[in-house]
């Protein structure tokens, strides 16, 4: 990893954190804030782009609309009502959500507004049934972290519907998630390094968890990054789901922008002008009539064509790696896929390959009068789609002359990003007139100030004092998603608090490292497991195995787990029998070592009964039985 001088590059990063709140109800209705497991009713909608006063329509929206795309929604009665279906106006703004947001605002010294106004922000991809997202600003300004990174605003908004599938003509969404309150914290773009970005995100995450009113688990927090470099451009990266990917994504984006700037300089050096990029598409279906490329033949068989176009002076650049295996050609392909609906593109920097022969490449170059320093791009699909795809490639090629295009990109799990859509114009927002404005009164702020949760460091000390656990466990708990669950259970369960804390931190982490899908462990399931220990269904030593089993089988329950794993509690009689059987087998050992042999015997019996009885009990009974035998005449 090259050590980059981020200041020299002029790196500026802004963070936008979206966190789901664990309120009792959704933001604008009384529905519960969880996902549904039942099938529901389905309905189909078409969302129309609206006109502004100046007769303008959002281009991306118009593009989607013209494709004739339909949206199929599914609504289950356990999690959705007519408000989410856009068949009923929204109810009042959820006070619990506002209180939580104001709590976070105060923790960040962000000044609450005097009156909260809900806005409609146009979003027409189907993720909101109304075609807009309801959102409101709750506070302005503030700062977070050691470096006092500025906060632009804290806002509260509805989460979007959950995409469940897509075909060429339809997008499928479940509206269970729609309306769950989100808190959005937007920082100023004053973060200067990838590491700092991750630290600020961690700090904000800590503050959010400190309120105890946020949801846990994958998908409950989403992080967006705005990354710009001095000579590059502002790129929006959406949907970074894991905190520990943030630094990597920022590094990757910086590398990508630097590479694109290199490409620009190289194109300048090669003397490329915009007019040189002529959108002349050649039908090269016949040279490829006998090709061994499966992709090309399949398209031709379906009645499509192979179109090719010349990218003058791009030779060697299309195949150039921007970062981590992503090439300029990859970006061009992503554009072609988005705008043309094709499967991908081929280009001469990567040919011959994929069944395309050297001879075919040569013929291609001849046909298009391509010299060694030029590249040729190929698309195979229906004529219309292939043309759209090539046009998109040319748009991207022209952007290479500018350097870095402004885009909205999506984060991938491997730390790279992919093209998502063009940067939207100014957000189209107008008042949500169905919901009256909410004044933020002095009384409300005073009440919230009195009930501020402890800051993370104070929280750790509190945990140590209240639950008598060590600092390491307390710190892990404070950062953990299970903090609230720990406090709930600590009051109710009979197991020792340190055992509880260890289970919720170290045990879960270690299972996760093993590859066990611990995200499947809901708070309810974990509570069930400890309930089983409390009711003597099983021993506490069984807990890790039970958690592992349940994580792998989310539909199951603890009774089944205990049964299937053979972890039911042993009765005293059963235990004595086992101990005596063991002692019968080890008569010699007993004779030789007497009482001292209990250590070894303990290991042997525990291997058999671990998880089915408390170790203490085993120890007790073992000692009894050994004593009995030793005192026999």
């Amino acid at each position: 990893m090259v050590n980059l001088d981020y200041q020299e590059i002029g790196l500026r990063v802004g963070l936008e954190i979206h966190q789901q709140l664990d309120t009792e109800h959704k933001l604008f209705c009384g529905c519960p804030t969880r996902l549904s497991e039942r099938p529901g009713v389905r309905f189909i909608r078409i969302l129309r782009p609206t006109q502004s006063e100046l007769g303008q329509v959002d281009q991306a929206a118009l593009f989607e609309f013209k494709k004739g795309r339909k949206i199929e929604y599914e609504a289950s009665s356990d999690t959705s009502c007519l408000v989410e279906m856009d068949e009923e106006p929204p109810h009042r703004l959820n006070e619990e959500a506002i209180d939580t947001a104001l709590t976070v605002s105060l923790l960040m010294n962000s000044k609450p507004v005097d009156e909260i106004h809900v806005m409609r922000k146009i979003v027409i991809d189907g993720s909101n049934t109304t075609g807009f997202q309801r959102t409101c600003v709750v506070s302005l300004g503030g700062s977070v972290g050691r470096e006092k990174i500025g906060i632009q605003h804290v806002s509260v908004e509805e989460d979007a519907a959950r995409k469940t599938g897509e075909t060429e003509q339809t997008s499928n969404y479940s509206i269970d998630r729609l309306g769950i309150p989100l808190i959005e914290i937007a920082t100023a773009p004053s973060i200067r390094s990838p590491q700092e970005a991750e630290e600020v995100a961690l700090e904000i995450g800590r503050l959010l968890r400190a309120t105890r009113r946020v949801k846990r688990g994958i998908g409950t927090i989403r992080q967006d990054l705005n990354v710009s470099t001095r000579q590059g451009a502002l790129v929006e990266i959406k949907g970074v789901q894991r905190l520990n990917l943030i630094a990597e994504i920022v590094e990757g984006e910086v590398a990508r922008q630097i590479s694109l700037l290199k490409i620009r300089r190289e194109l300048e050096a090669r003397g490329l002008e915009e007019e040189d990029l002529r959108e002349e598409f050649h039908d090269v279906s016949s040279p490829f009539a006998e090709t061994e490329s499966k992709v090309l033949t399949a398209a031709l068989k379906r009645g499509g064509v192979v179109l090719a176009a010349l990218l003058p002076k791009f030779g060697g650049l299309v195949g150039m790696e921007l970062h981590k295996g992503v090439r300029l050609g990859t970006e061009m392909a992503q554009r072609a896929i988005f705008w043309g609906g094709v499967g991908g593109i081929f280009h001469t920097d990567e040919l011959p390959n994929y069944g395309v022969s050297q001879r075919e490449v040569q013929e291609l170059r001849e046909r298009l009068n391509a010299s060694g320093g030029d590249a040729v791009v190929l698309v195979a699909d229906s004529k219309e789609k292939a043309q759209e795809a090539l046009r998109a490639v040319f748009d991207r090629a022209r952007e290479c002359l500018l350097g870095v295009p402004e885009e909205t990109r999506a984060a991938n799990d491997d730390g790279t990003t992919r093209y998502m859509r063009p940067r939207p114009g100014a957000a189209r927002m107008y008042p949500e007139t169905d919901v009256p404005p909410v004044p933020v009164t002095e009384e409300r702020l005073a009440r919230i100030k009195m009930n501020l949760p402890p800051m993370p460091e104070d929280l750790v000390n509190q945990l140590i004092q209240t639950y008598k656990i060590n600092r390491k466990l307390a710190e892990q708990l404070a950062d953990s998603d299970y903090l609230q669950l720990f406090e709930d259970l600590a009051g109710r369960t009979k197991v020792a608090t340190s055992f509880l804390a260890t289970t919720l931190t170290e045990v879960v982490k270690s299972l996760g490292r093993e590859g066990v899908p611990v995200d499947n462990l809901s708070c309810e399931k974990i509570t069930e497991v400890f309930g089983a220990v409390d009711s003597n269904l099983t021993a506490k030593e069984a807990v890790p195995d039970l958690l592992k089993w349940l994580a792998q089988r989310p539909e199951s329950n603890v009774q089944e787990a205990v049964e299937k794993l053979g972890l039911a509690m042993l009765t005293e009689t059963e235990l004595r029998t086992k101990i005596n059987t063991l002692l019968d087998k080890n008569v010699e050992l007993l004779k030789e070592r007497g009482e001292v042999s209990t250590g070894k015997l303990m290991n042997m019996i525990m291997a058999e009964v671990r998880g089915r009885v408390e170790a203490k009990k085993v120890d007790e009974l073992l000692k009894e039985e050994v004593a009995k035998r030793l005192t026999r005449p």
Binding site: Y430, P431, P439
Partner: protein, 447 residues
């Protein structure tokens, strides 16, 4: 002091401070209060708001309310530009398309949003309609007329008469179909009124509205309008009807007979249902195809001559009976010299015997009394129980399977033509526009 126009919605303290700072909505302002500074575009105030806050739109696009205290300072730091929008040119008339006249009475079927101020402006001229619903240019040649701009709860029988006259005008000028844009709240009262007032329609008259505001991308407005225009231009029937969504999906528009339709949901797209009858037709948006559901309808015929019978006697009361109801309301109607009363009775057409005295008085005073049911579905039959028979003998007129709202409108219409209760009764009980049928059949149409 409350204001309109440049300081829209502001009153009291906020109004005073804003007006002395010489700013109007749209201007960029700076507010300094207690050492805090806020900058943004001045936005209008809603009627629900107090007089202590000023609303500004921040650079991020969000609106916030800023509390104004006695020593707050407001400065203008930029002037708001009023956008001048000229509709794009209307598409040229096409010879292969029919002509449809769209008459607006209120209820925005199309609008534009000024994202800078949040204002939602109706878009009602023909050019506006083509611009916001471009698919219209493939369906018909549109003439647009703006007749009224009323929320439909403010529509009165006088408006019905105005609409009937306007429809007569456009029909005489040779239209192939009429669409009336109307708020949904009282749309079915209007559709009933027009059904009675327009005698000998040569072309269809289709009322249309939207349940979900037209500024939102999900609105049912555009598809309802497309359906209504398509039906108006091509339907084989010439009656007054209501065209609205069939269900929650954007797939089908149901066309309901104007005397048989009821708004059955406060907010859903699927609010409108045909009661005690099949709908007239349905329109498939995807395939752009109209399919008749009913086989019993008045046919389109350009040779028919439209005549108006548009007199409505407004002194008709509609009242819903409930347990313990006092006869006071009937006494009041007698006292105020009402000409007719429509009662929404219970079940087959019943009210408590405690009302019989006033009912007799009303009949004796020459008031026409008609009975409908609050059950919504079903037919009146006052022969089955004593209560019904008693009411019949008092002179209450059973109104068959008419909707109470339709019965009200019809009674106003009947009493608008004659003062004689006997004659009015005869008009009332004779089917004119499909509002009364002899048979209530099971729905086996699979429509």
């Amino acid at each position: 002091m409350k204001s309109t126009g440049e300081l829209e919605g502001y009153k009291g303290r906020a109004y005073e401070i804003l007006s002395s700072a010489n700013v109007s909505v749209g201007d960029k302002i700076r507010i300094i209060r207690d050492g805090e500074t806020y900058e943004g575009g001045l936005m209008p105030r809603s009627e629900l708001g107090d007089d202590l806050h000023v609303v500004i739109k921040l650079g991020s696009g969000y609106n916030v309310g800023v509390k104004i205290t006695r020593d707050s300072k407001i400065e203008k730091i930029g002037v708001g530009a009023k956008p001048t929008f000229t509709s794009p040119q209307q598409p040229a008339s096409r010879r292969d398309l029919e002509r449809v006249d769209i008459i607006s009475t209120g209820g925005t079927i199309a609008s534009r949003v000024d994202y800078r101020t949040g204002a939602v402006e109706p878009a009602l001229s023909a050019a506006d309609l083509y611009s916001t619903v471009p698919e219209l240019s493939e369906i018909a040649n549109i003439n647009a007329h703006i007749l009224y701009s009323e929320l439909s709860e403010n529509i009165t029988p006088k408006h019905w008469v105005g609409m009937a006259n306007k429809i007569l005008e456009v029909v005489k000028s040779g239209t192939d179909g009429v669409v009336v844009c109307h708020g949904t709240d009282t749309m079915t009262y209007t559709s009933a009124a027009l059904s009675f007032a327009l005698r000998g329609l040569p072309v269809p008259v289709i009322l249309v509205g939207s349940q979900r505001s037209s500024d939102r991308p999900s609105s049912d407005a555009a598809t309802n309008l497309l359906g209504a225009v398509a039906v108006a231009s091509k339907a084989p029937f010439a009656e007054v009807a209501v065209a609205m969504h069939s269900d929650s999906s954007d797939k089908t528009i149901t066309v309901h007979r104007g005397t048989r339709v009821r708004k059955c949901h406060t907010s859903g797209r699927y609010a409108f249902r045909s009661i005690n009858s099949l709908p007239l037709a349905k329109y498939d948006l995807q395939r752009a195809m109209l399919e008749m559901v009913s086989s019993d309808y008045l046919k389109r015929d350009p040779n028919k001559k439209l005549e108006l019978k548009a007199d409505f006697n407004e002194k008709v009361l509609l009242t819903k009976f409930y347990p313990g109801m006092s006869s006071g309301i009937i006494e009041w109607a007698i006292d105020k010299e009402y000409s007719g009363i429509v009662i929404e009775g219970t079940g087959l057409g019943h009210v408590s015997r405690t009302l019989q005295g006033s009912i007799r008085k009303a009949v004796d005073a020459g008031i026409l009394l008609g009975m409908t049911s609050q059950c919504i579905w079903g037919r009146i039959d006052m022969n089955v129980y004593t209560t019904g028979r008693d009411l019949l003998s008092l002179g209450v007129v059973p109104l068959e399977d008419m909707l109470p709202e339709t019965a009200l409108v019809k009674m106003m219409w009947a009493l608008g033509q004659t003062r004689d209760p006997g004659e009015a009764k005869s008009i009332l009980t004779t089917n004119v526009a499909g509002e009364i049928s002899e048979r209530t059949v099971p729905d086996d149409s699979n429509w």
